[in-house]
Symmetry: C2
Subunit: 119 residues, 2 copies
DNA sequence: CAGAATCCCCTCAGATACTG
DNA sequence: CAGTATCTGAGGGGATTCTG
């Protein structure tokens, strides 16, 4: 396969397990910010290893930024969506709309699955 | 992880290797139709096993249809985008636009990678 | 609190060979 | 032409443990 292929390149940024849910959680945060532990508890079953790995990837790819305050104790670490991260949220929303139209009768509200709020 | 989660469910339909390229190839075909061998040669390095597997998945998920003419010899088999398959093309296009804006200076035209034609 | 390090398992893509 | 069957290797996700 052509390694540099545009569409495949793109999907690599968001297709891995948990990545889109992480982006949505950041989006829902005030100012699009969330702490490590907030993400951990919001996402339920995710393990620390995987959450950490996904955050590093997203940071490296420029979709999020990590701001660390080492003066406080315990260390305060926050993650925030960048411009490009914010724009990819629209694609994720479109995916949800597509799924709701074609695939899913629907599930009750409460998390990312509500049909009322397209988020 | 919540198995029924909307966004994850959606991405499963298109995130696997080759799937989006297959959909784009069908989209580019006249009437959004392509034969097995056409896909095989368009996609270059894909193996028959993987192409076959992706097509079965897409068929099962209702994104494409398979029309077989057994009266002809050799058997003539065509794949065509369904309505839902056609609509997901827009999401793939948006992904490409995103990638071109944020990630890729660009590669010369010729395949799925041209910035002139957003396809 | 915010991770890094290890180990295990299991899926998936690729290669190869075969069939109607 | 249009696939199926089988084997293999690499990598990703999960569980657990440890650290500043």
């Amino acid at each position: 396969m052509q390694e540099g292929c545009t569409v495949n390149l793109t999907v690599k940024y968001i297709a891995r397990k948990w990545t889109m849910l992480i982006l949505l959680e950041l989006y829902k945060g005030e100012g699009h910010v969330r702490r490590f532990s907030e993400l951990k508890s919001c996402l339920g079953d995710i393990t620390q290893k995987v959450l950490s790995a996904r955050l590093r990837e997203l940071e490296k790819e420029g979709l999020i930024e990590n701001k660390v305050d080492k003066t406080s104790f315990p260390v305060r670490s926050e993650y925030i969506l960048t411009e490009s991260g914010l724009e990819i949220i629209n694609i994720i929303k479109d995916m949800k709309r597509w799924a709701l139209k074609w695939k899913i009768s629907n599930i009750e509200c409460g998390c990312q699955d509500c049909s009322q709020c397209v988020l």
